[in-house]
Symmetry: C2
Subunit: 328 residues, 2 copies
């Protein structure tokens, strides 16, 4: 089966190499008989996809070329993307008949799990306040405790949130998941629907946002719901800046109603230097890095794509198939 890998044009840092591809095959990834071409320019794309059944590429590379696929890639049946969120490719009316989109959901889980438990531990230790003290040169002990027995509420316990939930339970936390459906999550002690969110918010000593951004989740943590949190609650946002009311969060930190927050996402991104979020009391901001594993990103993406091709070759559903109706 012919596979074409279209790497980013003019940027080598994240390019998938032939060595990475061969190593992924050797890990036992795909069905037999895969034969790959590589390119990072327009001519290479045209010749590479001409007889390819599988295209592996980046959202931003595909955005520029998606309209040409029907004519340039007549044999295409699977597109594997190097992202979990495919929102830049929506709406999906450009997808040729018979072509399935596959994302790399799962690639980010290990890194996200480590970032999430780090953030929870930092908030327990009151690191946002300690950083402010360091900036003033103030040596003032602030005492804290351990995570055991405390409650973490995860809004969107999917691949990312589930990885954090698993780590949190390893530290003895009780984990409540709130999600679109009602399916229990193996790493949550209890699982509720979005419609039941208001009822469980008062238990959230720690609140983690890891849901996809959809019309249903936009501002899901609004000003009213922030008011339902227990006094001194701690927040972590690893989802998108628009899933919470950013100004309401800042107000609650300024007033002391919330004890601290760590966010890896913001509105807008990149955040301008003079933005309020940078200087809000007990808020730590990281620049959208919580889920990208520099050392292993391509390896894991290729493992996911090859797993899906193996499932397809065996006649089973591809686990990372993206529904063009919902985009995830």
């Amino acid at each position: 089966m012919r596979v074409h890998i279209q790497n980013p044009t003019g940027e080598d840092t994240f390019a998938i190499t032939e060595a990475q591809w061969r190593a992924a095959l050797e890990r036992g990834g795909g069905p037999v008989g895969l034969d790959a071409t590589f390119a990072n320019d327009a001519a290479g794309f045209e010749s590479g996809v001409r007889d390819a059944e599988v295209l592996i590429t980046w959202n931003r590379e595909l955005v520029a070329r998606k309209a040409t696929l029907r004519t340039l890639a007549p044999r295409l049946s699977v597109i594997g993307l190097t992202s979990a969120g495919l929102d830049p490719l929506a709406p999906f009316d450009w997808v040729p008949d018979g072509v399935t989109l596959v994302n790399n959901s799962g690639t980010h889980a290990d890194k996200a799990g480590e970032f999430g438990i780090m953030a929870i531990l930092m908030l327990e230790v009151r690191f946002p306040a300690l950083v402010a003290q360091q900036q003033k040169g103030e040596w003032r002990p602030l005492f804290s405790s351990t995570l055991e027995g405390k409650t973490l509420l995860v809004i969107g316990p999917g691949s990312l949130g589930g990885a954090v939930a698993q780590k949190a339970r390893g530290f003895g936390m009780r984990v409540i998941g709130v999600r679109h459906g009602s399916a229990p999550h193996p790493d949550c002690d209890e699982t509720y629907r979005f419609t039941e969110l208001d009822r469980v918010l008062p238990q959230a000593e720690y609140l983690l946002l890891t849901c996809p951004l959809t019309p249903e989740t936009r501002h899901i943590l609004n000003r009213d719901r922030i008011g339902l949190l227990p006094n001194g609650a701690r927040l972590i946002n690893m989802a998108r800046g628009a899933v919470w009311d950013q100004d309401a969060v800042c107000d609650a930190l300024d007033s002391g109603a919330l004890d601290g927050a760590i966010t890896d996402v913001a509105v807008p991104e990149p955040l301008p230097p003079d933005h309020r979020l940078w200087r809000t009391r007990n808020m730590l901001v990281t620049p959208h890095i919580c889920c990208d594993d520099k050392a292993r990103y391509n390896d894991r993406t290729l493992d996911v794509v090859l797993l899906n091709l193996r499932e397809r070759a065996a006649g089973r559903p591809m686990p990372n198939r993206v529904d063009p109706q919902t985009g995830y």
Copy 2:
């Protein structure tokens, strides 16, 4: 058996309460027949210790009263201290014959384990640099990876260092311990003596200091040894400020030879506002809070003391007995 608990004078925050004492007994702690008195002043001390076999108190309370014990407390046989390090009580020539000192080593392990793994994760994520970027309002992604397969060197894998080592192995790290003797440590993959330190330093992607401060460990991480660390190593000090050459560490951070450091200890403490340590590049400073669990400190101290009394009543050695020769 009569127990006297002498709480700090003029300070209630950390006082051991009767409720905490009763709860510790109910957890199944001590031998039967324990009967406690409580005081926080001189008169209460004199009447409380008069027929006490066990005294539970603080280093700083005992410093002022140790010379009076031979006359005031003729029946005394065990003193349980609410600290792991008893260096303020040295030299130990004041200890009456037949009296055994017991520290609370182990009390700090859970909290220390959480602080240590938090610090390692923060250094992996490059949090010191991210904090500096936040201060400038600079949104610039810095990518990192996960801990799996990386090497942590622990100098002093006792109760604190062992707790961190255990957590680190849970994240897939390889842990090397370096200690006074050659006894293997259950949470270290390999254990070496202090005399072999130079040989293993080049493997230390992460270096954690958790040794007691003794003549042997003072400046154990000196300028020469910092030079043996791999380029871009990360350091964590949860021991004492004097176990490393603080200025040499700052120089190596300033030059970029070290990638980052988190220290909970300093020379001097409290650190004055204009001290270099506060402003060293990629150094985060916390004010000696890494091991004190606000919510559980007294409970765990009492559990340790009662465990030792139970072992003694059973005719076995007390595990927390402090050797007056070494002070630990």
